[in-house]
């Protein structure tokens, strides 16, 4: 499969096994800046593994991943960590907000990891919380806010570093449809406004409908629907 020029993140022929189970079996992927791509497929098809590989969290057994012209698979662990810190943002379904920190501290965390001072980081964080309409929660802890609010805080945290790529793994998985939609709207709007690419893993069509195109992962193989049709 050829990838269109100008792609920000390209993966080719990714293979990954966990023990006896094959998670990826020759998967392909590419995304442009500012594009929202939904990764769909049944559970266990390997879509989360694809996301983890793309984000440099997991190293594939074979295949190549290029981000902005750099080969991700040959980076050291600390290089990949730095990449994730500064270029990528993450939203997961569960367990991502540190329960002990207040919401604003959670949002500021990635900036602090990048070395910003506490004050500056929290100021920027608050700006993002305003955009995601959760600035009134700044002093609360994650345990004291609702699921939808928590997820918006998580989105704010993912966007606070102005990432080039936002990885979202079932970001609305634990939310009802109204909350889920609101989160998706805010997420895609924010991403578009900063020209960030979004890799959106979901099995929900209504969530995938916020994407520009989708790829389907089945049995570890990906299928780019736009180019097939």
């Amino acid at each position: 499969m050829t990838h269109p020029a100008g792609s920000l993140l390209i993966a080719q022929d990714l293979r990954k096994t966990y023990g006896p189970t094959t998670a990826l079996d020759g998967a392909e992927f590419s995304i442009h800046p500012g594009e929202v791509v939904a990764v769909m497929g049944p559970s266990g098809s390997g879509k989360s593994t694809l996301l983890h590989c793309l984000a440099g969290i997991v190293t594939p057994d074979s295949g190549s991943i290029t981000y902005n012209g750099r080969e991700v698979t040959s980076m050291s662990d600390s290089e990949r960590s730095a990449l994730r810190r500064s270029e990528f943002g993450f939203v997961f379904q569960f367990g991502q907000l540190v329960p002990e920190l207040t919401c604003v501290e959670n949002v500021a965390l990635p900036l602090r990891l990048n070395g910003s001072s506490r004050k500056a980081a929290e100021r920027t964080a608050l700006g993002w919380m305003e955009r995601l309409e959760v600035d009134d929660l700044r002093k609360k802890r994650p345990g004291e806010v609702s699921g939808g609010q928590g997820q918006r805080v998580a989105v704010a945290r993912a966007l606070v570093t102005d990432p080039r790529v936002l990885f979202a793994d079932e970001p609305t998985g634990a939310l009802d449809s109204l909350n889920g939609e609101r989160v998706m709207e805010l997420l895609t709007e924010a991403a578009r406004s900063t020209n960030a690419a979004v890799v959106l893993v979901t099995h929900e069509a209504r969530v995938a409908a916020y994407s520009d195109r989708e790829i389907v992962v089945r049995d570890g193989r990906s299928r780019d629907m736009e180019r097939v049709v």
Binding site: S43, G44, S81, Q93, V98, P99, L113, G143, A158
Partner: protein, 779 residues
Amino acid sequence: MSVRQWSRDLAMGTRFAFAGGREGWTRALLTAVGVGLGVALLLLTTAIPNALAERDRREEARSDHTFSQQEIPKADDTLLVVDADTTYRDQDVRGRLLEPDGPKAPRPPGVAAFPADGEMVVSPALKELLASDDGKLLRERLPYRISGTIGEQGLVGSQELAFFAGGKGLEQRLEGPASGARIDSFGNDDLGSSDPWDPVLLLLVLVVFVVLLMPVAVFIAAAVRFGGERRDRRLAALRLVGSDSRMTRRIAAGEALAGSVLGLVLGTGFFLLGRQLGASAEVFHVSVFPSYLNPSPLLAALVAVAVPTAAVLVTLFALRGVVIEPLGVVRTAKPARRRLWWRLLLPLGGLAMLYPMIGQGRDQGDFNQYLVVGGVMLLLVGVTALLPWVVETVVARLGSGGVAWQLAVRRLQLSSGAAARMVNGIAVAVAGAIALQMLFAGVEGDYTASSRYDVSRAQMSVEVPEGARTAATIGEYRDTEGVRKVTALSDVYLGDRRDEPDSFAQITVADCASLREVATLPSCRDGDVFAVKGSQYDSESDHLAKPGTTLWADAGDTARSGDREVSWTVPKDIRQAQPREDPTGNERGGILLTPGALPGSLKAHLSTQLFLSLDLSKADAYDHVRNTAARLDPTSQPMTWNSIERNDRYATIRTGLSVGAACVLALIGASLLVSQLEQLRERRKLLSALIAFGTRRRTLSLSVLWQTAIPIGLGLLLAATVGMALGAVLLRMTNMKIRVDWPSVLSMTGIGAAVVLVVTLLSLPPLLKLMRPDGLRTE
């Protein structure tokens, strides 16, 4: 509420403890291992008095010293025994030379047949030592053929080094300096009625026990709460299917009960295992046989009942501030602030119980044991009550810092109770240990005679008996490996009259170099004679040292009638010398003679002491000297000089404390590690997410370190405070000056801190493993 209801719920909890799949099993097992370690330690402690009593009993049974003045006549049921104790490296070897007078001579316990001349029977540990490379030097010292081993009955510990060697002509040795006797039986009943314990020593023993057992109790209480968060989820699920709030609590208690009962079983196993292992180990020169370590049945039964009961009560107590709802466990967002007043009551109550005994000292008779135990316990429990408050209060005020610091502080703010619980055990142990160390340091002056030996001048001394070939002996030592210098001082006491002298003068004979060790001489040539003036310990000889005075040897000792009368006249050219402390710390007076001034007739009356200065950089210098001594005379016992001599019983208690503290800290360290790992496992998903968005591993590791270091730091601070307060009170009770023993305070807190550091280090590899992204996989 019926008993049936209770037992049904408890039983259900028990089932849950084991039916929860792998997770449930792990939890139950962790609890059980924790409780088991505690139980093993409890059982061990209850067995120690028995073990010590058993050692005493065996020691008595093999005793071969008669304390009666009457000599037993030689018969066919008597035995000659001469001590041949020796020391190898830092281990004492019990040695005896045996010569049976007839076929019915009593055999020592554990010895099947008398060793023939040139043979010996040895303890298993000694046999092993002799066979090993380590025992090479000792083998030279004991040139006997091994003809058998000493049975358990004849030994006080599995690792004891002991031998019985056959000898000939021992009767002559009884005349000499060797200690020995003719006996018709082993064992001595008189030893049994030893003096009653000094009240201060008894106080020490009581405090040691309380101090060692308190952390174990705290530890058990913590162990039954392993896996708290997961249990919460399970309890919520129970509520969902319809159990009411109180039932749920009882079911939780049942789970703890199951863990603690399994812990009892494991603990018994650990104890039996430890008992066997204990036989192969030697701690501070004390080893025991497994059979010694039998806990008294009453105490063991008490442990068996108290531990599960405590587990249930602790669980119910721990759940008091928790609302278990069907959809989750709710700890109110802002838990009620910990109140200080009742927490302060405990240590204050402890002080109040100890206060009446202040100033009693040892002269006022016994301390009230119950008040002592109660007071010390309350003070130490006070630590566990105060610590959560201290941690909460301090942590709430901690300011900003790096990300790692922020993560740690915020976590502590949210769950300061859990953090405090983790370090409670260490805090109690350290507080108790500090108090004890202070007490020991105070008592040390009384129970430790600081010896006056000057170990920089000589490190060993040997007696050369009267009439021996002194010059040859000195040569032997001089040629011994590791000996740098031999100072030989011979002396004899001469009286002022031939019969029934009033005063004696000590005559010291040595070459010039050696004489300078005992006095400051103006100059010295062979043939010189000096009188020492102004010695602290000798005023008598001043008037005897006048020129022309005639002094008599053995005057007054009419038993030696066979000897010729020997006299010596103080020469005219006697000169003055200034006294100087000799290596033993004595200032001798009397008259100093160089060998050239010594009349031949006096030579036979000299007894000689050699002071050996060793090259301590040479390994085994001491043992080379002992080998030489044994070659010259197997019964000789060269003295090794230490700067401090301790009262034996005091040393035993200190040993007990050290052993116990080591066990307790190891135990607590293990439990810290377990709960640390459990916490990490519960946060696995969060850790993976943090790693996903690029958190450095270093940051997370550091936050884990802070998370333990902050509460431990506070705990140690509190422990040091309470420990010093308790120590001060105990010192006042024994009427001693309050003096803070800073080195021991620092070393105890240092050990506590080291435990935390080790635990953190050990939990790092699993942490790094948990931080792998696999944790993100949800399916």
